[in-house]
């Protein structure tokens, strides 16, 4: 038990606590999600499979016919796939923020929402990891990205930011999956004792590894959990910094900028929290869990979106200022082109969704209205997808050599189908997750309940 950051019951004074819960009813509330799916879930699952199939067919088309069907046009050789990669890595960041960083900061409101965020992290990294493989054209040679002693003695170029990315993203996937699975152990042990389905029971027995909640287990569990959090915190900050350096290390106008690392990290948390809000709104409504994930929880997440929106907005304005104030004509020209050129619509979609619309979150009624928050968070993620599109495509479409400026990239149907398929891939994992594993942390929410004492201190 050593290493526990807060004694049970300590949260009540520090943050919102779920209402009207007892230790027993909490088990029932959370485990109620597991089991036989209803018609809405089945319809969502089938639709998801259909979209995934369309994406898979588009991908098959591209592998057979070549990368040309992917809409690449010189000089825009990084387009939607890398946009999707950065978008999904960004989405992943919220989970680690909520589960690790807020754990270290003893922010107790995270307890009710972190499992959903953590699951989202793992599934988002799994989705992000697809795109560099698709982008290289021959995904079956993806293992060439990793260092291994080959017959030819060749090794990856460790001075390349793209290789840094391989290390950063694969480390992130490994640690976020471990953090997620370790955090599940006490909860699946509870589920193990209750579930009747033999397949699920076998799964929980495997995942719980014989957990009994003994003092020895708790002692080392929280000792290790603290260090997982301590390791994941610098990791999450480094991963999107490294992703940003894929761009910032190049001298392409619009990319070669020292603000990129914090700008990308803030944007990642911004979009990730927005998607967590969307998912939580659906789950708490579908399973009637408003007493578990309260309006206070949702409002705190909305404030996090507002905070990161201001950082993202500051970054946009800072980029514009530096282009105007700095010595580079190419940079100045690029920003004029970005906001008033061929892709003006993408840039203004980005700016409107990420800077202007989130200003509504200054108003408490908006933060506490679930329909308003849901729609607003959809716009935030639309804007964040376009942010990555703008950074990648507009910069590549306006390089130093003016003779290439006339060639304008157009998104292809293959890219649209693969992008939609990636969303379906992500939601496929998520739909299965809410029906198979405890989507809320029984243990951590239980820690927010009053400690059962015969004699009150």
């Amino acid at each position: 038990m050593s290493g526990t950051l807060a004694s049970p019951g300590a949260a009540s004074a520090a943050g919102p606590e779920p209402r009207g819960l007892t230790a027993r009813s909490l088990n029932e509330d959370v485990l109620r999600l597991i089991g036989r799916p209803g018609p809405v879930w089945i319809v969502a699952f089938v639709l998801d499979l259909v979209v995934l199939l369309i994406g898979a067919l588009a991908l098959r088309n591209e592998i057979v016919l070549g990368l040309g069907v992917g809409g690449w046009t010189r000089p825009v050789m990084w387009a939607t796939y890398i946009t999707n990669f950065v978008f999904w890595v960004g989405i992943a960041h919220c989970g680690t923020l909520v589960s690790a960083i807020l754990f270290l900061f003893r922010s107790h409101f995270r307890r009710a929402v972190y499992r959903v965020a953590e699951a989202m992290t793992v599934f988002a990294v799994l989705t992000a990891g697809l795109f560099p493989l698709l982008h290289v054209g021959r995904p079956w040679f993806g293992y060439w990205l990793f260092p291994y002693p080959s017959q030819r003695g060749l090794w990856p170029n460790f001075r390349s930011p793209l290789e840094w990315d391989v290390f950063a993203v694969s480390t992130y996937l490994t640690l976020s999956a471990i953090f997620f699975l370790v955090g599940l152990i006490p909860d699946v042990a509870v589920a193990r004792e209750r579930v009747e389905n033999p397949v699920l029971r076998g799964l929980y027995r495997l995942m719980s590894a014989g957990w009994t909640g003994s003092n020895r287990q708790w002692r080392h569990f929280y000792g290790a959990y603290l260090y997982f959090a301590a390791l994941c915190t610098p990791l999450v900050l480094s991963v999107h910094s490294v992703v940003s350096w894929d761009f910032a290390m190049a001298q392409v106008p619009g990319w070669h900028n020292t603000i990129f690392a914090p700008y990308f990290v803030a944007g990642a948390i911004f979009s990730g929290v927005a998607l967590v809000i969307n998912l939580l709104i659906v789950i708490r409504r579908a399973f009637r869990l408003e007493h578990l994930v309260t309006l206070e929880h949702m409002e705190k997440l909305a404030k996090l979106v507002l905070l990161t929106s201001t950082i993202v907005g500051y970054s946009y304005l800072s980029e514009i200022f530096m282009a105007w104030f700095g010595p580079s004509d190419a940079e100045r020209d690029l920003f004029l082109s970005r906001y008033f050129g061929h892709f003006w619509w993408a840039t203004w979609t980005m700016f409107t969704c990420n800077v202007i619309l989130p200003l509504l979150l200054w108003f408490k009624p908006v933060r506490r209205s679930m329909p308003a928050l849901f729609v607003l968070m959809l716009f935030v993620n639309l804007g964040m997808w376009f942010e990555r599109f703008v950074i990648i495509v507009t910069s590549l479409a306006r390089p130093f050599e003016p003779y290439t400026w006339g060639v304008n990239y157009r998104i292809s149907w293959t890219e649209i189908a693969v992008t939609a398929g990636a969303f379906a891939w992500f939601f496929l994992f998520f739909l299965v997750f809410v029906r198979v594993l405890p989507a809320f942390s029984i243990t951590e929410i239980k820690e927010t309940l009053p400690v059962p004492r015969r004699r009150q201190p």
Binding site: E163, G210, N215, S238
Partner: protein, 181 residues
């Protein structure tokens, strides 16, 4: 009493010898642990749905040594990351972009990520080893109520010592005292 995941311990041919006290209140369990330790019982096992500081203090548990295993992994990762970069560029000296072969600043990223990766993996291994996971057999009779809202205090032993332990558990507010022989 059942084994974790179903089936009784007796049905599996496994028996435990000792006394299990089942408590509702943390302060009762804490008082029982202190009394048992004063009576010379040092190998107690406590089961609960969440960790409680009160019980941790009563058991006088030191911090988990898993942090040293994690530190060892972090150091191994940091050294290994730099060694991988430096070793491979020296093994196959291929100049790219006119840069130094051994370019330490870019290698910092690989060293840093490797440090976190191995630190995390060692942390996991440390947790599994120290918590003795996965375990097929619980060190005490397991009750699914311990995953809900009850606290179990297990005192291994038999005979007169077990009887005295049972009295101490009952005297400190245990809802149930179960003797396993």
């Amino acid at each position: 009493m059942s084994a974790p995941g179903g089936g009784t311990e007796a049905a599996r041919g496994r028996t435990h010898r000792g006394v299990m006290g089942v408590f509702t209140y943390v302060d009762d369990a804490e008082a029982a642990i202190r009394a048992l330790r004063q009576a010379g019982h040092r190998d107690l096992q406590v089961f609960s749905a969440v960790p409680y500081h009160e019980l941790e203090r009563a058991l006088e548990q030191p911090p988990s040594p898993v942090r040293w295993i994690c530190l060892a992994g972090g150091i191994a990762g940091l050294v290994g990351g730099f060694a991988l970069c430096i070793g491979t560029v020296l093994w196959w000296p291929l100049v790219t972009g006119g840069k130094e072969l051994v370019s330490l600043p870019p290698f910092v990223v690989i060293g840093y990520e490797s440090m976190i990766l191995l630190g995390g993996l060692f942390n996991l291994i440390g947790l599994l080893l120290l918590a003795r996971l996965p375990q097929r057999r619980s060190p005490a009779p397991y009750d699914p109520r311990f995953g809900e809202d009850r606290i179990g205090v297990w005192v291994p032993g038999a005979g007169a010592a077990a009887s005295r332990a049972g009295q101490l558990l009952a005297g400190n507010g245990a809802d149930e005292v179960q003797h396993h022989a």
